[in-house]
């Protein structure tokens, strides 16, 4: 009898505990939407990012994001691989909304997150739904949304505890002349900060931030947030475009100047049937940026616009209309 109790306590309970916890803890995945309300111009695009936290003790597999949208709007999932999200880890998914010829107004969308959740050999497919509001308004500059986002407020618990401990160590130093606790805490901050930071790959994030130069971020030019309006002369010149030209617009999701450059190219393509374009995120396709001369002295500079068939690179948004017309060979 005693032997069975031992087996029950030490084998069954630990084996069942995660499943009990997982079952009783409420939602398996929790979500943070960024932004919760999307603003986009008619004909424009905007990005939505969903930060996903797995609060359970089992991984979530094959997580897919989709959206049911009203007629006139389309939703395209961004290519982010989220095959598996380990317990207590965070992941991100995104999709791009595109507004067709929609009337300005407020539209309710529903995001769907479908994933597979397995407890040992038992697997379930779970569908979670998130409401989102899309505001279509003339004059809005579409954006691609943030590429890196925060997360739940709980992520600040460890730093707050560290601050409290640090304050305690400083108090011991100031009032009791004890330096050892302060050195211990500072040493732990170095080891913990660097160790956990590297584990979270923050050194790569830091390098990524430093190696992409957004022209408005260091004050090389001013960011502009209005919808670019083409001059009548530019419209005439673009309508007379005599050859097929494809423009590549290199952007970074966090770049403040990039939405204006993207909107300008969209405006131009709208009046020039022979002009096509594509937007390339330099953080995702650095090789293409390198082959097109967007990387200078190891810095990827955004926004940058190039012709797919070669030629000069137009950096930034200063005097963009006339510089693009020159790039297209229709400027004066």
């Amino acid at each position: 009898m005693n032997r069975w109790w031992v087996v029950f306590v030490f084998v069954f309970v630990p084996a069942l505990l995660p499943a009990i916890c997982a079952h009783g803890q409420g939602p398996i995945l929790t979500y943070t939407l960024r932004p919760t309300q999307v603003t986009l111009a008619p004909g424009g695009t905007a990005g939505i990012e969903v930060e996903i936290h797995n609060g359970s003790v089992y991984p979530a597999d094959d997580i897919a994001l989709s959206a049911s949208v009203p007629e006139g709007l389309s939703a395209t999932p961004q290519e982010v691989d989220l095959k598996e999200l380990d317990p207590f880890k965070d992941g991100r998914l995104g999709l791009t909304l595109a507004a067709g010829d929609l009337e300005p107004g407020t539209y309710d969308l529903e995001l769907q997150i479908v994933y597979t959740y397995c407890i040992d050999v038992s697997c379930f497919q779970i569908v979670d739904k998130l409401p989102v509001t899309a505001v279509v308004e003339a004059g809005a500059v579409s954006s691609h949304g943030p590429s890196v986002a925060g997360g739940s407020p709980w992520r600040w618990v460890v730093p707050l505890v560290a601050v409290v401990v640090l304050v305690g160590a400083i108090a011991l130093w100031v009032f009791m002349r004890l330096r050892v606790p302060l050195y211990v805490v500072l040493g732990l901050l170095v080891i913990g900060g660097l160790g956990y930071g590297v584990r979270l790959n923050q050194q790569e994030q830091a390098q990524g931030i430093a190696s992409v130069l957004c022209t408005s971020c260091v004050g090389i030019e001013e960011a502009r947030h209005e919808v670019p309006a083409l001059t009548p002369g530019a419209v005439l010149a673009l309508q007379g475009l005599s050859q097929d030209i494809r423009l590549i617009v290199f952007y970074a999701p966090w770049c403040h100047s990039c939405p204006f450059a993207e909107a300008m190219v969209e405006e131009m393509a709208a009046v020039a049937p022979r002009l096509t374009y594509e937007f390339v995120n330099v953080e995702e396709d650095r090789a293409l940026a390198a082959t097109n001369g967007v990387i200078r002295s190891g810095r990827t500079i955004v926004p940058a616009i190039v012709r797919a068939d070669g030629g000069e690179v137009v950096f930034g948004i200063e005097d963009l209309e006339s510089r693009l017309l020159m790039l297209l060979g229709v400027g004066s």
């Binding site: 943030p146 500072l186 170095v190 923050q202 931030i209 260091v218 090389i220 966090w254 002295s297």
Partner: protein, 269 residues
């Protein structure tokens, strides 16, 4: 080797590390222990203030940055300002007038640091970078010649802050480091616990104030040897003929330097 010569060698190494990009090496993962613009075409290291602003904008808990800054702070505190920072080096070259520090104004750098963080949070933009004189030298001017930047309002703002800072440096030695540098403010937090520190033997000190005459930060090292403004350049140690001031590299857990420093001055002579 004289301490001042050794310091110039270290400052040259800092300069070299700052602009090592001429070798073709791209951006590394290293956070620079001073104020140095990562947008500089030749930079291979990350500006801690620029990174800090970006992390504030993203809402990222900055574990890697905090670990690095605390490590730098523990090693030398503001010693990096005196021995490594390229902009500090430029401050040194223009430090002709070693006037006494304005105590209240020296807290301005902490206001700049807090303002930098708040502005990044409020505007979701790297606002400090738009007026940073280091970015003026290392980004605005080079990119103008590379055809990326143009002479526009942001460029003129940069030139304005640069000229203002340079004039300030000429009028007041280490003007930027004393009153405005946010990186100096970060490192100053560790000045009293850093391994590299100035120690004072009060028994040897005659209070002649020869150290005060040479201090580029406008301090009186014989009374302010542990001040948050001290950049540990060691100029005072060379000026002290009695050897009362020393630049020491040690753990300050009630060590000899501290005991000496805290010992009451003997009046028996």
């Amino acid at each position: 080797m004289k301490l001042s010569r050794l310091r110039r060698i270290h400052q040259s190494l800092g300069l070299l590390l700052g602009f090592f990009g001429f070798t073709g090496i791209g951006m590394t993962h290293l956070i620079f222990p001073g104020l140095h613009c990562y947008a500089c075409p030749l930079s291979i290291t990350i500006c801690p203030i620029g990174l800090m602003q970006n992390l504030v904008i993203y809402g990222t808990v900055p574990y890697f940055l905090v670990g690095t800054i605390v490590a730098y702070g523990l090693i030398a505190g503001r010693g990096f300002c005196g021995w490594f920072c390229p902009f500090g080096f430029l401050n040194d070259l223009l430090s002709f007038r070693k006037v006494r520090i304005k105590r209240a104004a020296s807290f301005g750098k902490f206001l700049v640091l807090v303002g930098t963080i708040l502005a990044a949070w409020a505007f979701a933009d790297t606002m400090f970078c738009k007026v940073c004189p280091v970015a003026s030298i290392e980004a605005s001017i080079p990119y103008l010649f590379m055809g990326v930047a143009q002479v526009n309002r942001p460029f003129l703002i940069h030139m304005g802050t640069l000229v203002g800072t340079l004039v300030g440096m000429v009028i007041i030695a280490r003007f930027w480091c004393r009153y405005l540098c946010p990186m100096g403010a970060l490192l100053a937090l560790f000045n009293r616990v850093s391994f590299l520190h100035l120690s004072l033997d009060r028994r040897a000190c005659s209070q002649c104030a020869a150290c005060a005459a040479v201090c580029p930060m406008g301090l009186e090292p014989h009374t302010e040897y542990d001040d948050h403004n001290c950049i540990k350049c060691g100029a005072c140690t060379e000026a002290c003929s009695l050897g009362a001031l020393r630049l020491t590299l040690s753990l300050r857990i009630a060590g000899k330097a501290v005991r000496e420093a805290r010992a009451p001055r003997s009046d028996s002579s």
